[in-house]
Symmetry: D2
Subunit: 170 residues, 4 copies
């Protein structure tokens, strides 16, 4: 059908670190779990109430998987633009299940980090010290990798799709 639009826009926080899966063909897929919340005052009780919605986000776009993996962490606030997709699958007992996800793939997808200062505990003055930018985000002690997001814009890659292999996207 011509003439259709399928767009989701979310601004919310990650409930967990991104889950990265490697594909057979060398590519990657990143899954995010994003919370959006609303709060309102109950008309009857006058109490303040709040409801959180959890969104499953799946990133296929190459540039965006990299950004997600490099800069997003549990708690990060992001702007996301993708499309709705419902997937059918079978659980272990053979039952049909359906999952609706927000898919970032191809053009008209976007992912922008909105909290340049993660869970900075210390001083955040200056923003622009030696390394030039966000440091934040959970280089949380322990082993391994360690985070250190810096300049999180997923727009850039889209302008030069092939330009990220040998360069930082900013």
């Amino acid at each position: 059908m011509a003439g259709s639009v399928n767009k989701v826009i979310l601004v919310g926080n990650l409930g967990n670190d991104p889950e990265v899966r490697n594909l057979p063909n060398g590519g990657k897929v990143v899954n995010l779990s994003i919370a959006t919340s609303e709060s309102w005052k109950d008309r009857n009780t006058g109490e303040r109430r709040e409801k959180t919605e959890w969104h499953r986000v799946v990133i296929f776009s190459e540039g965006l998987t990299r950004v997600a993996e490099s800069y997003l962490r549990k708690g990060s606030k992001v702007y996301i633009e993708g499309q709705l997709q419902t997937r059918k699958w079978q659980d272990q007992s053979g039952q049909d299940k359906y999952s609706t996800e927000v898919v970032l793939q191809g053009f008209n997808s976007n992912l922008t980090l909105l909290d340049g200062r993660g869970d900075n505990s210390g001083d955040n003055s200056g923003y622009g010290g030696g390394d030039g930018g966000f440091r934040g985000v959970r280089d949380n002690g322990g082993g391994g990798g360690g985070g250190g997001a810096r300049r999180p814009s997923a727009n850039a890659p889209a302008f030069e799709p092939g330009g990220m292999d040998d360069d930082i996207p900013f």
Copy 2:
């Protein structure tokens, strides 16, 4: 949480007439099934391929339920703005199920009919027959006279929420 956004924008066609349910309290809920499609040329085979996604839309907003009930029919093309919501329920065997829906409720929802059949000069039959509305898409063989919807905009009600009881919304 402050600072979150949960928005879905769809432009697509109804796969069926709207399903209207009356609530105990006198209100109504309308369910729509909307298709969006994408087509692309397969890089390998060169064939044109197409994929259709079906969206379950639930309308609670009073003004919009009325518009949906009055002006939408199978085949209608609509612009919809709502938010994502996942609902948990039990099927007859007691199994947990989840359904993700696009909910139109409260402010920041929108529903606009896009196939006003603009400058219909000729026959409009089929649109307004017995059932009083668009049935979609030109099987316009048969009889039925008929009027047909005319000015289908769900914006108006939003500007004066109580103003529709005694007036056509356009």
Copy 3:
């Protein structure tokens, strides 16, 4: 700056045929003038009132210029996604002027024709029959009438940016 979004979404009708300009480098730019309207009932007089807003749209994206040129005509209804841009220029008397436009350029732009059956004169029954519907395109040879685009989707090109040179985009 990281972390910003600049997005405009319009659904409206062309006030004129697209204006196509050829660039020195062989490229093209297409300008559209798009009307959106709102109507509401005046709270005081009870009269129905309407206000039309005109939007200047500028298309740089190669795939979309082609779609615009080929399928859009005065009166066409389109879905457009672009970004706001204000341009400074001097009028003939040297006065500074500013124009704000909706620019379609690069990723995250979209243009989708919403009235697939423009001024179809012939039968369009069925959607699925032999030719299955929209055939459209460019019979704009000679004089007179012109136009009548029908199967207008600018999504396709985006999926295979180079794929349109030798093929109809649907």
Copy 4:
């Protein structure tokens, strides 16, 4: 015209404190100047380049003027949803001028603060002098310091338009 949509979505930072004007009728209008920026790597020089776009935003919605006045300051990051409007006016020399603005008015407008600076415990310096930052809320009495707004959501008022006069909006 039925069937049109006019929507602008911005995520950006305020270049200045909000400008509040009182209307004859007791209402208020708030003007914001919001920057969005893009950066990309120049294909030729390889340099990183950046372009900032400034948007004039005008808030008429009662609930949103209050939120803007209370919680926004120079530097604040906001999510904004409004519509495009071009206004004609005469400058002092009688010349016609046009200004295009993003108007927040009525339903389908939104304003959400994105840098809650949450539970700033420490220093907030840098944000604009004197008192540094959001003071927000209910110029609650007397003195000094000021606390740092925290829960800035413009959604709430929309759910209960009249509910803010005697309560904090969150």
